[in-house]
């Protein structure tokens, strides 16, 4: 489970809109950050499958890149 938040979003009982429409929007997360996060998810998957590479983070992203995971419970 890489992001608890997203996981709950999609599996919470009761049929929230995200599940019904199959679409998740994060209005408060910028595209750059979101993109980086998606890259991270992919990297995490590869890593768990045995491909041990480094995940590179551009220094200017670090601050915001700390907030988002906190939000997403990653």
């Amino acid at each position: 489970m890489v992001s608890q938040t997203i996981g709950n979003m999609l599996t919470s009982p009761g049929g929230f809109a995200e599940m019904e429409l199959g679409e998740v929007t994060f209005p408060e997360i910028s595209a750059v950050i979101l993109e980086k996060i998606c890259q991270y998810f992919y990297w995490a998957l590869q890593y768990s499958r045995g491909k041990e590479t480094e995940f590179h983070i551009e220094p200017e992203l670090t601050l915001e890149l700390m907030m988002a995971p906190n939000y997403l419970h990653t």
Binding site: Q4, T5, N8, M9, S12, P13, G14, G15, F16, A17, E18, M19, E20, V24, T25, F26, P27, E28, S30, P59, E60, L63, E64, Y71, H73
Partner: protein, 733 residues
């Protein structure tokens, strides 16, 4: 400075708007409150999870976590109050159903709420040590719904009523019961216990108390046990279907206490159907059931064991003191074996081979077998009977079985030395009369005795076998060298017995007929020729003879008689009529033996080769004997010889007892000396204890006798008394 343009490290301010709106918290909360409402009203589709999650996140981030939390509590509580009302409104049978449904809904709602409030759960709650959302939801349910006055008592009543209905045979909705009890467990084990289990156990106890009373008045023991077993299984099944597993041991305890423990004694002692009756009638199934049920209850098995033990002891005691039974030793011992078999079977098939029961059985047997001082003699007689004829035609395995059973009885004997004495006597008779059914069986038993008691016990017995073998070889040698001499004379067969190995016999007088004396001398010379330094004496009281007799009408018979009887009969070759006195004078056979031998010759139907005047049953000094011309028998060979070993008469028994006592004295003395030599100094009580321990595999020494032996040893200066303490003894080297 490098020509490369470095990317500037920029730190930018938050892209979010810094909130200054004072009503921010209230607005945000309203959104969430609304969402909770919708969730409880099953209207959550269409709501955006992300939005709700973000709102909750923001509240917590901007330090409004407290407001969020208390808002949650209030909202949830009010919803639950509504739910509680609707459950209360449900009628009769629908109550549980409604409760169950609402519970499921609440759980779903709770999960959704927990998911959107996840951020608060992760950060705010641990920091403030508040109850997490999920647990909060359960607690509220518990406090508002389950413990609401109306619902609490009604729930309990309905649950218990359902159980009662099921117990009286009705079918109930087990799935529903399962869900409800699971709900209680989820709310906390103490909820399950206090709201349900406690009362369940109480009510069940009452139920079973009543039912068991009913049953015990109307059923016999076997039926009652069946019913108890059924109820027990029912409860176990009930737990597996819709109660918490930890309730199993508690409810079975209730059933065990009410149905079994309270009525234990009454059941066991029930007239006509209790434990004793079951044993006597060999009701294995009922006994097995009783064992399994009573095992669950403390002291249940102890009760069964004690009652069984005292019954066995009484039966055994009766058997051993019944004069009728004791008349036939072989039959008596067979009864003992049958008794043991019976109880072994009960213990194996009904009591699961329980060791404690085995031990109780063994100790009971040990107890009553030794009540009768004749037991060792009787067991030896039983063996004698088996080895003479009882085991004829029996397979080797079955022979072993019988012998093992005998050994089992032998082990119970306390006076094994008495058994040894009798066994020796009986074995001697068997060997000398050639009456043993199987040499292998004889030897097999000796081996078993050796394994049990050691070499000492059987060395003399083995000596007897050796003598028999050696005598065969001697006879072969004798006939080889003197065969031609014998011609028409009597044929002699001699067994040479080593004095130490065979039972001691008193030396008796007996004048052998002239014809016999001759060949006896020949043998004596032959034997002493090859074995110098030995002394031979004829044991006239132990021999046998085969006589060819011709009667009045010319009918010939071969008579197998004892040596004494041969001497008497040979006299009638020269006279037709002889008085008792005359016979006694010529033969010099001791009186009691002579009378016995004449009795078998003259007073037994079918074997009366002599006639007696007068025709009375007993032999008197004044009787006259005549050769019975008119004797007939359909057999050519007639056995008139000494009969097989018989149980001793009272005086004979006394005599043997005395000899045994005499034999014990040196054994006790040897034990005392052994002990004192090792310990040097020892007090009286300890000597007695040690001596008893050393000798108990042979017999139980009498403390009085031990004391006497000590005194005798003091007189003979093996020991001395301590000058200061009279109870202390010292070994004198």
């Amino acid at each position: 400075m490098s020509a490369q343009k470095k990317k500037a490290f920029q730190i930018e301010a938050f892209k979010h708007r810094v909130v200054v709106d004072p009503k921010y918290a209230e607005k945000t909360w309203k959104i969430l409150e609304h969402a909770i409402h919708e969730i409880y009203n099953h209207n959550a589709s269409g709501l955006s999870f992300e939005e709700l999650y973000r709102n909750a996140y923001n509240m917590v981030l901007h330090k409004f976590g407290e407001k969020l939390y208390s808002g949650l509590v209030t909202t949830m509580t009010s919803h639950l109050k509504e739910i509680s009302n609707s459950i209360e409104a449900a009628q009769g049978g629908l109550f549980l159903d409604e409760l169950n449904r609402k519970w499921a809904e609440h759980n779903k709602a709770l999960q959704m709420i927990r998911d959107i409030l996840m951020y608060m759960d992760r950060t705010f709650i641990p920091n403030t040590h508040k109850t997490p959302v999920h647990e909060l939801g359960l607690n509220l349910w518990r406090d508002v719904v389950i413990h609401s006055h109306a619902i609490q008592s009604r729930l309990q009543a309905i649950l218990l009523e359902n159980v009662r209905r099921e117990r009286s045979g009705e079918v109930i909705d087990r799935g529903l019961m399962r869900s409800i009890t699971k709900m209680l467990m989820d709310l906390g084990p103490s909820v399950y216990q206090d709201d349900f289990e406690k009362h369940f156990l109480e009510v069940s106890a009452d139920f079973y108390r009543l039912e068991s009373q009913e049953f015990i008045e109307s059923c016999d023991c076997g039926e009652y046990l069946k019913k108890a077993e059924r109820r027990l299984n029912e409860e176990i099944e009930r737990v597996s279907h819709y109660l918490d597993t930890r309730s199993e041991v508690k409810i079975t305890n209730v059933v065990e206490t009410e149905m079994i423990e309270s009525h234990m004694h009454r059941l066991v002692h029930m007239e006509n159907s209790g434990l004793i009756n079951m044993i006597v009638d060999e009701k294995f199934e009922d006994l097995g059931r009783m064992y399994c049920l009573f095992r669950r209850v403390s002291n249940g098995l102890v009760l069964i064991r004690d009652v069984m033990t005292s019954f066995i002891r009484d039966t055994g005691k009766q058997l051993l003191t019944d004069p009728e039974r004791l008349k036939d030793p072989v039959d008596f011992v067979q009864h003992l074996l049958d008794l043991k078999d019976k109880y072994d079977k009960i213990i194996t098939s009904a009591f699961r081979n329980d060791k404690t029961f085995q031990n109780a059985l063994n100790s009971s047997f040990e107890y009553f077998i030794n009540l009768n001082s004749r037991s060792p003699e009787f067991i030896s007689l039983f063996v004698d009977d088996k080895l003479r004829k009882g085991l004829r035609g029996v397979t080797e395995e079955d022979v072993e079985l019988v012998l093992d059973k005998v050994m089992m009885l032998f082990r119970y004997l306390q006076e094994k030395d008495v058994f040894e004495k009798y066994y020796k006597q009986h074995l001697a008779k068997r060997l000398l009369s050639g009456k043993s059914v199987s040499d292998d069986a004889e030897r097999s038993l000796i081996v078993k005795l050796k394994t049990e008691c050691g070499y000492q016990f059987t060395s003399k017995l083995e000596g007897m076998f050796t003598d028999m073998k050696t005598s065969q070889d001697t006879m072969q040698g004798f006939h080889a060298s003197h065969g031609s001499d014998i011609g028409d004379g009597p044929m002699l067969s001699v067994q040479v017995l080593t004095t130490g190995s065979w039972p001691t016999q008193p030396i008796t007088t007996c004048n052998l007929p002239a014809e016999i004396l001759g060949i006896c001398e020949k043998f004596r010379n032959y034997y002493l020729g090859t074995h110098t330094g030995r002394r031979l004496s004829w044991q006239t009281n132990m021999g046998t003879a085969d006589l060819k007799a011709t009667f009045g009408k010319g009918q010939k018979h071969e008579l197998n008689v004892s040596t004494y009887q041969m001497c008497v009969l040979m006299l009638f070759n020269d006279a037709d009529r002889l008085s008792y006195k005359e016979i006694e004078q010529v033969t010099e056979i001791p009186t009691s033996d002579l009378k016995r031998c004449l009795q078998s010759l003259a007073c037994v139907k079918g074997k009366n080769v002599l006639r007696k005047e007068p025709m009375s049953k007993d032999i008197a000094d004044t009787d006259t004997f005549l050769f019975n011309d008119k004797y007939t028998s359909k057999f050519f060979k007639v056995k008139i010889g000494t009969v097989a070993a018989q149980r001793e008469s009272e005086p004979e028994n006394q005599e043997t007892r005395q000899r045994v006592e005499e034999d014990r004295k040196p054994q006790i003395e040897a034990a005392i000396v052994r002990i004192m030599k090792a310990r040097r100094v020892l007090d009286h009580n300890n000597i007695v204890a040690e001596v008893t321990k050393q000798l108990q595999s042979r017999f139980l020494p009498n403390p009085v006798v031990i004391k006497k032996r000590i005194e005798s040893l003091i007189e003979r200066e093996f020991l001395e008394r301590d000058k200061g303490d009279r109870k202390l003894y010292r070994y004198l080297a």
